[in-house]
Each structure stands twice: as structure tokens, then as C-alpha cells.
């Protein structure tokens, strides 16, 4: 048995050490990473993947701790991938989401992994979706992804999760924020956390009145729930809603097909981008053309788009030839 085969066997058997190591290999894009993901891919698709997003400080980590406990009470096993930002200057990261979840860490039905974005845009890390696959293949019934503290446009999570929970807290923004495009559009469920605070009802109304402006008739209308994560208030109701949404997806075949298709398409496009960009740039660097063009751009002899156009056409021509 090769090293990778052994690791895959461990992952499929739910071995925690194997799961941890597999995620590291994927994160580092080690030489074995591709084979590893390819081998587990066929074993994925069983877990329900929930994405939690929202501004930093809204209470995502604390909510997740309570959601996990509720799922454990219902006899489900849970994996968590918690993403925090990487420094654009040093490449380092401070991963602090676990602090709120440490009570769960010795529960064998729970696996928590912190992940730095490593400068991937969109609120998650490049490795997040494959880490989710590892936890899925390892038999977790539910996998929860916590995005970085997201502002307005970090919507990559829709490529990973089936149910998106957007978390708000009172006082973070008025109805103008609620009307904006981006994160506000991707929610399957809205949560106003810290609902014991002043203006909680105002926050709920802002979101609801924005939802009422949706013209299109949609089969699933995102509910707006109130929670107090610290005390656990509203959590069973939230988990009920998540489960309702899961049933909705399973029941509505058309919806499910669209969702599966969207994900497959997005994953393929991302994989192509990554492969093509990586190999084209590598090749150009080797030939020294990259450097030459960078200088031409700096001297304003050409613009970046025209330069890229020329390069890519040439590279694709070379591939065909």
C-alpha cells in the first residue's frame, strides 16, 4: 500500500490523525495532494455542508459551538473548518476561532480544524473545499465552515456549502447595508445574534423589508431568526431551520440539480484556472518572458491586459502544438 493509499484508508475509517494529516497535505498542496483528493472524491457527498458567514465579532464561532452541541444532542457527528485571515505582509496568521469551541475538542464525534486563508480571496481558503471533502469522506454527518469575518463580497462559500447562514448582530449596519448586493443575497437563513441587545428587532426588520423587495418568486424564502449564542437561546430553532432547508434541497429535485450543477461547474472552473495560471506563469518565468513584460508594463510600453493577452494566446498555441 502506498503512503497515500494508507492515508485514504485512515480517512475513510475516520482516523483523526489521518484526517488531520490529509488536510495538511491539501493545504500545502503537497505532491500527493491531487491523488489524495481524487481517491476520496467518490466517497464524498453524504455530509450536509453548512456555511456560516458574517462580520467579524457577530458571534459566528460561539454560534458554531452551540450548533455543534445541538447536533451532538441529536446524535450527529460534526466536522468544523474555521477560516481566519492570513497576513498579506508576513504570511503568518492568528487562528483564534477554536477558543470558543474548545469544550467540544475532546468529543470524539467532533473534529475541528483551523485554517488560514493563505491569501485566497472570497472569505475561505483555497484548501477549504477539499478539507470539507476529507471530513465528509471521514463520515461526518454535518460539516460546518466558518468563513473569515466577511464584509460584503466574500461569497466563495456558496461553492462549498449547501446551506448558507448569514450572521448579523444589532448595530452593525442600517437598512442601507441590508439592501446591498453580495453577502446579503447568498443567505438561506439569516440570524440576528446577540438578540438581547438594543436594536435587535430593528436589525430583523431591516433584513425582512429587504427580502420583501425580492421580485422573483423563489421556492425557499430565507427566514430571519434571532439567537443569543452565549446562552444558547434560539439555537434549537436555528438547527431546525437548517434541517428544514436540507430537506427542502433533498425534496426539490430541480433545486438540488441546479445546486449540484452550480457547484460542479464552479469547482471545475476553479481547478482549470489554478492549473492553467500556474503552469503558464511557470513556463513564462522559465523562458524569461515574464520578467521582460513586467518591465515593459513598468515603463508603460504596454498595458497588463494586452501583455497577458499576448502571452496566453502564445501559451495556448504552444500547448496545442
Amino acid at each position: 500500500m502506498t503512503k497515500t493509499e494508507e492515508l485514504v484508508k485512515g480517512v475513510l475509517g475516520g482516523n483523526r490523525r489521518s484526517v488531520a494529516r490529509a488536510i495538511t497535505i491539501i493545504e500545502n498542496d503537497d505532491p500527493d495532494a491531487q491523488e489524495l483528493v481524487a481517491k476520496i472524491y467518490v466517497h464524498t457527498g453524504k455530509a450536509h455542508v453548512i456555511g456560516l458567514t458574517g462580520a467579524g465579532g457577530a458571534g459566528k464561532s460561539t454560534l458554531i459551538e452551540k450548533i455543534v452541541k445541538e447536533y451532538r444532542r441529536r446524535g450527529k457527528t460534526v466536522g468544523v473548518v474555521a477560516v481566519d485571515p492570513t497576513s498579506p505582509f508576513t504570511g503568518g496568521a492568528f487562528l483564534g476561532d477554536r477558543i470558543r469551541m474548545q469544550e467540544l475538542c475532546t468529543d470524539e464525534g467532533v473534529f475541528i480544524r483551523s485554517m488560514a486563508t493563505r491569501n485566497y480571496a472570497g472569505g475561505i481558503a483555497r484548501a477549504t473545499k477539499d478539507a470539507v471533502k476529507v471530513l465528509d469522506a471521514a463520515g461526518k454527518d454535518v460539516v460546518i465552515v466558518e468563513t473569515v469575518g466577511a464584509g460584503q463580497s466574500e461569497v466563495e462559500i456558496i461553492k462549498v456549502a449547501q446551506t448558507i447562514v448569514v450572521v448579523h448582530a444589532p448595530g452593525l449596519g442600517d437598512e442601507i447595508q441590508a439592501i446591498k448586493a453580495g453577502v446579503m443575497e447568498i443567505a438561506d437563513i439569516f440570524v440576528v445574534n446577540k438578540a438581547d441587545r438594543e436594536n435587535a428587532n430593528k436589525a430583523v426588520i431591516d433584513i425582512q423589508s429587504n427580502l420583501q423587495m425580492n421580485k422573483k418568486e423563489i421556492p425557499w424564502k430565507p427566514p430571519v431568526l434571532k439567537t443569543i449564542a452565549l446562552t444558547g437561546e434560539g439555537i434549537p430553532e436555528l438547527v431546525n431551520k437548517i434541517e428544514q432547508h436540507r430537506c427542502f434541497l433533498e425534496g426539490d429535485l430541480e433545486c438540488r440539480k441546479v445546486s449540484l450543477r452550480t457547484k460542479a461547474e464552479a469547482e471545475l472552473i476553479d481547478a482549470i484556472k489554478e492549473r492553467v495560471t500556474g503552469s503558464v506563469i511557470e513556463e513564462l518565468k522559465r523562458e524569461g518572458k515574464f520578467e521582460a513584460l513586467v518591465h515593459q508594463i513598468m515603463e508603460k510600453k504596454t498595458d497588463p491586459t494586452s501583455a497577458a493577452d499576448k502571452l496566453v494566446k502564445k501559451a495556448l498555441h504552444d500547448v496545442e502544438a
Binding site: 483523526r16 490523525r17 484526517v19 488531520a20 494529516r21 488536510i23 495538511t24 493545504e27 500545502n28 498542496d29 492570513t86 497576513s87 508576513t90 504570511g91 503568518g92 496568521a93 492568528f94 487562528l95 483564534g96 477554536r98 477558543i99 470558543r100 474548545q102 475538542c105 475532546t106 473534529f111 475541528i112 480544524r113 483551523s114 488560514a116 493563505r118 491569501n119 483555497r126 500556474g278 506563469i281 511557470e282
Partner: protein
């Protein structure tokens, strides 16, 4: 393309004391040195620390303790690490550990003890120079 190995460090505070300024300063310094630092928060049991190290697949654990319970807690952490086969993780410690205990702690497998006054540069260099190799 990103292909370098990232150093992952767990900074943990075992025991019952609630002073984590030092742990946070070290965590921040390692972050600024380009490492991914996982912080567990206060009052962690040896079981929680070792389980976290396992799930996070860290290369290094830094333990901060000021309560004086290191003689009870450190042996337990080191034993649990061995039991889980996490022997390729490098462990260092800091905080208030009396000079007469240092040798004993090192005998347990703790690689280095950093007392008050240690500069963050010293710790960063130590981690970089003593990074365990991975199979």
C-alpha cells in the same frame, strides 16, 4: 503558486491561571514571523491541548504556565503526546518555571524553557532552528 510548507504552532495555556499576556505576545510574534498560530484560550486540560495539537496537525506546541502546576501538568501532556504517537511535535514552554525544575522538565521531552525576559526573537529563532522534520 503556493507550495511552501507553513509552520503551524499551537500556543496553549494549561492549568488554572488566567494571565495570558505572555502567551498572546508570543503568539503575535510567531504570527509576525510568518507562522500560523493556533491559540486555545485559557484553562486548557492536557487532554484538550493534545487533542487540539492532533486535529490541527501542528509542528510545534508552546505551553505557557504561571500557576506553578507544571510539575503535574507537563508530564501528563508529554505522556498523552506519546500515547497519541505525536512524538514528532516539538514542545517548548514558558512562564514561571523555577530554575531547579528546568532540567526535570527537559528530561520529560520539553525541548526548551523560556523564562521572563526572553526576547521574542530568541523564541522565533529557536523554533526555526529546531523545527522537527516530517516523514
Amino acid at each position: 503558486m503556493q507550495k511552501q510548507r507553513k509552520i503551524r504552532v499551537l500556543i496553549a495555556k494549561p492549568g488554572l491561571d488566567s494571565h495570558d499576556r505572555g502567551a498572546k505576545v508570543v503568539a503575535r510574534a510567531l504570527r509576525d514571523a510568518g507562522m500560523e498560530v493556533i491559540y486555545t484560550g485559557l484553562r486548557q486540560t492536557p487532554e484538550q491541548i493534545v487533542e487540539t495539537a492532533l486535529q490541527e496537525d501542528v509542528d510545534v506546541i508552546g505551553l505557557s504556565i504561571l500557576s506553578g502546576a507544571h510539575k503535574t501538568i507537563f508530564p501528563r501532556i508529554m505522556r498523552l503526546l506519546r500515547e497519541r504517537d505525536l512524538t514528532d511535535v516539538m514542545v517548548f514552554a514558558g512562564g514561571i518555571i523555577p530554575q531547579e525544575d528546568v532540567a526535570k522538565m527537559k528530561k520529560l521531552g520539553i525541548k526548551e524553557i523560556f523564562g521572563p525576559g526572553t526576547t521574542t526573537e530568541t523564541i522565533i529563532h529557536y523554533v526555526l532552528d529546531n523545527l522537527p522534520r516530517r516523514s
